[in-house]
């Protein structure tokens, strides 16, 4: 669990790192890229549903 979270943290750092940000050509493209990366991290942190992610026990 802790290892997975560290991995996701490292991935997050990479995705939000500045050099990647100015690869998209314009300001709006930067925004689209950031929101997409953000969404990806949220999905990964939740765990993919196909892997039978445990829900709230009650």
């Amino acid at each position: 669990m802790k290892l997975r979270s560290l991995f996701l943290f490292a991935l997050g750092l990479l995705l939000f790192s500045y050099p990647l940000l100015y690869l998209p050509p314009g300001g709006l493209a930067q925004a689209v890229y950031l929101f997409a990366a953000w969404g990806l991290l949220i999905v990964l942190n939740r765990g993919l549903p196909s892997r039978g992610n445990e829900e709230e026990p009650r």
Partner: protein, 797 residues
């Protein structure tokens, strides 16, 4: 008028919701928990982000990416939840004072600095309410209303009332307020919906009316400075998210189950993502349709401009809910931390009758005072953007991060180190941000140092860097108290705190001043009642005061490790005592032998006055010999005692070869008398040592060799592997392997003669020089002295 009615209706709804939630007891939904974390998104998010986006595009996003990154590490934060539950910690200053040896000074310092740091942030919310209210009433650039006509003042007072009613109803050791949390979660929902609805409406209108907008926003520049600013803001907001008092309150204190954090770790970033989606479209629409207007007001102005007063009211409500939720929770969190760290020690010391009630009333007063101070700050501080005011507080809250994180995960972190770090961090924060915010002409901050960098980013970097460095260095440099070391174990390794022993009848009246009778009865029946009582008191008084109170009525039972340590120490003391007894017995025995002889000869001489002259001379010779032996023995015992008491050795550069020559010269008569040949190989062997002691050692070894050798003695000095060595070898019977250690003990002799202390003294001398002395050899005995090689030149023979 409709605006005032809306505000009143909304506040009434909040009160009703709080009351309803309070009546329902604890709400265990993880969704309520997740939404309550939304108190992070304040008026700054609602109005300020749009303002910032007009300047540098996605530059507003690091404030939300930071918490997202921090929550990816949620398994590590579970430790904080567990510790806070176990020790009833209600704020970071509580945590710091408990973790660093129940030190009230550290907690109070952190609390004071936090209050100072967070005033601008509270003021920001009031400013947003005031600004939006004035704008909706139709005046844009007029002077600020008089305080008595200012809606921000009345809102601040209404929020103080709300906080007092739902946050300080009773002195709750758990500090949980379900009604308040429900209201805050509801406000999170309102601000999200309002923001999204306004954005959808604006975009729909833009497309419907085919208005032209600048469909491109500012782009982040590819420069090192921009990269530094971006990274620092992400780091800063990640730390602020976890170290702001209101976040600790909703995330840790109001957490019911660890599982809720697990859900919030993805659901809350999702909330942040959703609430940020409208920012760029609204900023573009504002730039296109309302050029020249203060961008912080776009959210309100756009619906008005596009003809919908109702949606402008909804936008106002969204901003209002963002501001009020923050003000209520921050004021409550700050009042709890002020009461736990600053007020409870004073109240405990006073002879007043009902300290619990007094503390509760003081908390209520604190809430009102805090909000009035925030209002005054807002009225009298110079104009600044919403974002700028918020970031100043972010840097202040983040100053607790080094002490907090080191305290959670590093056992060696020490009180003085983190205190120094914190002081340095806050000093740099004050110089770089706080003072320049109040008096920009007098305090320029660090702006002139690094002109290309954002003042917030550079102050954050400098203050956090200095804070962390001093905390780490100070932790290594300063010794820790026993209490500190124990609390480090309790917090970092999550060990159970020490148990108490006390008579309940003695404890009951003291605890009864703070805890209800029913709770006390339950505790008295529980096997760990006293420990639970301390935890409950910690929620009311703060952990440091709770510990002090418990220590005054109960005794701490030693822990298993402490008992084991004490038993071991006792055992080794007993062994030493036994050794000492044996030594005294042996010394007495050794002294008795010559004494008995002396006495017998003296008595004989006394009783037989007519003893023949020859016999009398023989007796007198024996008398002298025995008294010499006695004196030698006493000298040696004194030598040994002196060496054992701690060597007061001189340190001077010496050469073992010269020493050996000197010793050989002195021993020459003895060796000649025994008819022994001496062979030497004396190479320079430098060391730093005490000339007289080493000579004593050499003479001892030589006299030993002379006593046991058959025909020959070898003396060698040389250097080997950075050590100086001396060997004295004889061709005598040698030392059997099983006796090679024993002969260095006091009064262990191989043959007859000698005091039995010579080799023990030799070994002590060697050890006092940081060296060693041992014996080896198959035929004959070879004694080897080995001492660290010296660097200086020898003083000569």
């Amino acid at each position: 008028m409709s605006l005032l009615l809306l505000i009143l209706a909304y506040l009434a709804l909040l009160f009703a919701l709080g009351l309803w939630g309070e009546g329902r007891g604890r709400l265990r939904s993880p969704w309520v928990y997740t939404l309550s974390l939304g108190v992070y998104a304040t008026a700054w998010t609602f109005y300020g982000s749009v303002g910032r986006a007009t300047q540098d595009g996605v530059g507003f996003l690091p404030i939300y990416l930071g918490p997202t990154l921090g929550l990816l590490l949620w398994p590590f934060w579970l430790k904080l939840l567990r510790l806070a539950k176990r020790h009833r910690l209600t704020s970071w200053p509580d945590f710091l004072s408990a973790r660093y040896g129940n030190d009230r000074l550290l907690g109070s310092l952190a609390a004071l600095l936090l209050i100072l740091g967070l005033l601008p942030y509270l003021a920001l919310q009031l400013k947003a309410i005031s600004q939006s209210f004035i704008y909706l009433q139709g005046s844009t650039g007029g002077p600020q209303p008089q305080p008595l006509e200012d809606v921000a003042l009345y809102t601040a007072l209404a929020l103080a009332l709300f906080t007092v009613l739902f946050g300080t109803r009773r002195l709750d050791p758990l500090e949980r307020h379900p009604g308040l949390v429900l209201a805050v979660a509801f406000e999170s929902l309102i601000k999200l919906l309002a923001f999204l609805v306004v954005a959808v409406f604006v975009l729909w209108k833009v497309f419907q009316l085919e208005l032209s907008l600048p469909w491109e926003t500012e782009r982040l520049a590819p420069s090192l400075e921009a990269q530094f600013n971006w990274s620092m803001l992400i780091l800063l907001s990640m730390l602020a998210f976890f170290f702001l008092p209101r976040q600790f309150y909703v995330m840790v204190v109001e957490n019911e189950q660890e599982e809720h954090l697990r859900q919030a770790a993805w659901a809350f970033p999702l909330y942040l993502l959703l609430i940020n989606l409208p920012v760029l479209p609204l900023s573009l629409a504002g730039l296109g349709l309302l050029p020249g207007l203060n961008p912080d007001l776009f959210v309100l102005a756009l619906p008005l401009h596009l003809g919908s007063y109702e949606l402008a009211l909804l936008a106002f409500l969204g901003g209002f809910s963002a501001a009020t939720a923050m003000v209520v929770v921050e004021a409550l969190a700050l009042s709890i931390l002020i009461s736990n760290t600053l007020l409870s020690p004073l109240v405990l010391r006073s002879p007043l009758q009902d300290p619990g009630q007094i503390l509760l009333n003081l908390r209520r007063v604190t809430v009102v005072v805090l909000l009035i101070l925030a209002y005054l700050y807002f009225r009298f501080s110079p104009e600044a953007s919403l974002v700028q005011m918020g970031l100043v507080s972010f840097v202040a809250a983040a100053q607790l991060a080094p002490a907090g994180l080191l305290g959670l995960f590093w056992k060696e972190a020490g009180r003085l180190g983190v205190m120094l770090g914190m002081l340095a961090g806050y000093a740099l924060w004050a110089y770089g941000l706080f003072l320049p915010g109040l008096w920009p002409e007098v305090f320029p901050g660090f702006a002139s140092w690094f002109p290309g960098l954002d003042p917030v980013a550079q102050t954050a970097f400098l203050s956090l860097g200095a804070n962390l460095a001093l905390a780490v260095l100070g932790s290594y440099a300063f010794a820790k108290s026993k209490e500190e070391a124990r609390q480090a174990q309790v917090f970092v390794l999550e060990q159970a705190p020490p148990a108490y022993q006390a008579d309940w009848e003695r404890v009951r009246p003291v605890l009864g001043r703070f805890l209800e009778a029913g709770v006390l009865e339950e505790l008295a029946r529980s096997p760990e009642g006293l420990e639970k009582a301390e935890a409950l008191l910690a929620g009311v008084l703060g952990p440091a005061s709770a510990r002090l109170l418990m220590a005054s009525v109960a005794q701490e039972a030693p822990r298993v490790e402490e008992v084991v340590e004490a038993v071991e120490a006792y055992r080794s003391l007993k062994e030493l005592d036994q050794l000492k007894d044996e030594f005294i017995a042996t010394v007495s025995h050794e002294l008795r032998t010559p004494l008995t002889a002396i006495r017998s000869f003296a008595e004989l001489l006394h009783m037989r006055p007519g003893m023949p002259e020859e016999e009398r001379r023989e007796f007198l010779r024996l008398l002298v010999e025995e008294s010499q032996r006695l004196s030698r023995l006493v000298n040696r015992v004194l030598d040994l005692a002196e060496l054992q008491a701690g060597p007061g050795l001189k340190r001077e550069p010496l050469d073992l070869a010269s020493l050996a020559q000197e010793a050989l010269k002195l021993s020459a008569p003895l060796l000649a008398e025994r008819g022994l040949g001496v062979e030497t190989r004396l190479e320079p062997a430098i060391l730093e040592g005490d000339h007289d002691r080493l000579l004593q050692l050499l003479l001892n070894l030589l006299s030993n060799a002379a006593r046991h050798a058959k025909s020959r003695v070898w003396v060698r000095t040389y250097c080997e592997g950075g050590k100086s060595r001396l060997e004295v070898e004889d061709d005598g019977p040698g030392v059997p392997p099983e006796m090679r250690e024993a002969i260095f003990e006091s009064f262990r002799k191989l043959g007859k003669g000698g005091t039995g202390l010579g080799l023990a003294i030799c070994r002590r001398i060697a050890q006092a020089h940081g060296g060693r002395l041992w014996v080896e050899g198959e035929e004959g005995a070879r004694f080897i002295l080995e001492v660290e090689r010296g660097t200086d030149t020898h003083r000569g023979g």
